[in-house]
């Protein structure tokens, strides 16, 4: 008698999946709850970079709040690419949301003129923080809430400007890996040009996230998903990642725990806020 052999499938590193319909509905409910029910705010403010994260955020806000309640802002600096501006416009055209373009060059250069030696990283951080300054001011003007656009991959890798991209009080995408955001974008109907292009912080010509990070999002997401479950470096290698990939991702995660927290406050009393004095965020 010959038995058929049924082998357990070889596990190849794959990014985690996503049920887009369930996720889109859940995030729409989250946005309505956070803005309308909890804060009695009906409008959202979103900075549109021309990338997929802010596009998905705009699509979700339009689903949750109605396009008429979504205020998007294109905030280019002198060196920003024209393509990013045009790509952001496709989102506005697709959704029919409000959009305003405010050039931040004068604001950024107003400070940087005194810092002529600032390197690309410092200049990028100043631009990111200036954009957040604009979005918060616009939210005050419009009686709206800024909605964050950061994804889980960049949060875990620390690939963002602290107290800039992560500042808005609500963030629908913060627990979605980049590859999941791409899938959600396709499901929501985000213009193809945004989904297909290489993600970039758009600080320099030909700059890409994956070039900066030294790993593709597909590999990083697959690795992070297992790392977050507690897999050791040796196990990650057993699961098909190279020692260099493991070292790179583990190193970035371990070096950036602080970026995922509020500032460290010296505890001096037995009423220290968030140590002794504890209240839920929605209390």
């Amino acid at each position: 008698m010959t038995f058929t052999i049924v082998e357990a499938p070889l596990e190849s590193p794959r990014p985690p999946g996503i049920d887009c319909a369930v996720t889109a509905d859940w995030l729409s409910a989250f946005l309505r709850d956070e803005l309308t029910l909890r804060r009695n705010i009906s409008r959202a403010v979103i900075g549109l970079s021309g990338g997929v994260d802010s596009a998905v955020t705009a699509f979700l806000c339009a689903r949750a709040l109605g396009a008429e309640n979504v205020y998007t802002f294109r905030l280019p600096y002198a060196t920003s690419s024209a393509a990013s501006l045009a790509d952001a416009q496709t989102v506005v055209d697709a959704l029919g949301v409000h959009c305003r373009t405010i050039d931040i060059t004068a604001a950024v250069d107003g400070y940087l003129q005194f810092e002529p030696d600032a390197d690309a990283r410092r200049r990028g951080n100043v631009m990111a923080r200036t954009r957040m300054l604009v979005l918060f001011d616009q939210s005050a003007k419009l009686d709206a809430l800024p909605v964050g656009t950061g994804n889980k991959t960049e949060r875990m890798l620390g690939y963002f400007t602290w107290h800039a991209d992560d500042t808005p009080p609500v963030n629908p995408l913060g627990d979605l890996f980049k590859t999941q955001v791409w899938a959600l974008a396709r499901y929501l109907g985000v213009p193809k040009v945004l989904v297909d292009k290489a993600p970039s912080a758009d600080l320099e010509a030909d700059q890409t996230d994956e070039g900066d990070l030294g790993i593709t999002y597909a590999r990083a997401d697959a690795l992070l998903a297992k790392l977050l479950l507690g897999y050791s470096d040796a196990q990650l290698v057993e699961h098909g990642f190279s020692p260099d990939e493991v070292s790179l991702v583990r190193g970035r995660v371990d070096a950036t725990h602080w970026k995922r927290h509020l500032p460290t406050t010296a505890m001096l009393t037995n009423t220290a806020i968030n140590e002794f004095y504890l209240r839920p965020v929605d209390y």
Binding site: M1, F3, V6, G230
Partner: protein, 311 residues
């Protein structure tokens, strides 16, 4: 099956190479079925196999009625037959074998399964489990012919503690619970399940129900579940095979088809158990609360000798 490094010939205790032999036995032909088992051993020559799991009543067929008395064997005899079959094909290679059989223990008959270690020179019955829950309803008639076992054990193996649950044993949530509380990290489930229920989608309803049961046990206790299902038709009743391995997070690592004799190979990474339990520490929670639950006076449990006799 994923491969792994084994240094200087020693077995890496973090991993167990498991083969489930989904038997399609010829009814009542023990010797012939044992030969089929030997052919499965031969097919397992390539790759690493630490543990081979056969279904319930793997070498006789399940529905035997009165013929169970003709075919039941003592545990030592069955162990000897399994070991001889292994050595006949694989020589002095070391292996652990789990298999279901009808047991004759001096005139008392059980639906049993043994965990057998076959070493270079001798075999050793590591554990003998006698089925606790003998289905005697509808198409089933086990208790008419068999006696029931009295407890579920968690026994030490080369790969950590395990328990055997035969078929309906696994359907009572308290049995995998007790096994896990006693320390079992792998639940071995030899089974013979006649398929039924055509109202589902894509598979018989009984297959779906089995998978839900096994996944629940795996997730609740953070254990691996290895299910070995008998296959083939027995007098019109089709056994549903579907042998499978489930990890401690409830992922079905591999699953066999319903009605084909086959060997399922899977590599269990035992480190997954600790990781899963860190994320969902239900077993630790239960161990803390279990004494309170069992001391509940409203439970119909004997409370010492006097209480038993007073009932």
């Amino acid at each position: 099956m994923s491969t792994h490094a084994v240094s200087d010939g020693r077995i890496d205790p973090a991993r167990v190479g498991v083969a489930i032999v989904q038997m399609k036995p010829a009814k009542g032909r023990y010797a012939e079925n044992l030969r089929a088992g030997g052919e499965a051993f031969e097919q397992l020559r390539s790759g690493r196999t630490d543990l081979i799991v056969f279904p319930e009543a793997a070498f006789t067929g399940y529905f035997l009625e009165g013929a169970v008395y003709d075919l039941a064997l003592s545990a030592p005899r069955f162990a000897g037959d399994l070991a001889a079959t292994w050595r006949g094909t694989r020589g002095d290679a070391e292996v652990d074998i789990v298999a279901g059989f009808y047991e004759n223990d001096g005139g008392t008959y059980y639906n049993s399964a043994m965990y057998l270690h076959v070493g270079r020179d001798a075999e050793h019955i590591v554990h003998l489990h006698r089925k606790l829950f003998l289905p005697t309803y509808g198409v089933f008639d086990e208790e008419r012919f068999l006696s029931r076992g009295r407890k579920v054990g968690a026994f030490q193996t080369r790969f950590g503690k395990m328990s055997i649950l035969i078929c309906e044993d696994a359907w009572h949530a308290i049995v995998p619970t007790i096994a896990a509380v006693k320390g079992a990290r792998i639940l071995l489930v030899p089974s013979a399940s006649p398929g039924r229920g055509i109202e589902g989608e894509g598979e018989l309803a009984s297959i779906t129900r089995w998978r839900q049961t096994l996944v629940s046990a795996a997730v609740e206790h953070g254990v691996f579940v290895v299910y070995a299902g008998l296959t083939g038709f027995e007098g019109g009743k089709g056994m549903t095979g579907n042998s499978c391995a489930i990890d401690p997070r409830g992922n079905v690592l591999v699953q066999a088809p319903a009605s084909e004799a086959c060997i399922v190979r899977v590599d269990l990474d035992l480190r997954e158990i600790d990781l899963a339990r860190a994320g969902l520490p239900l077993l630790g929670d239960l161990e803390a609360v279990l004494p309170d639950l069992l001391l509940d006076e409203e439970l119909p449990l004997p409370r010492g000798v006097r209480d038993v006799y007073d009932r």
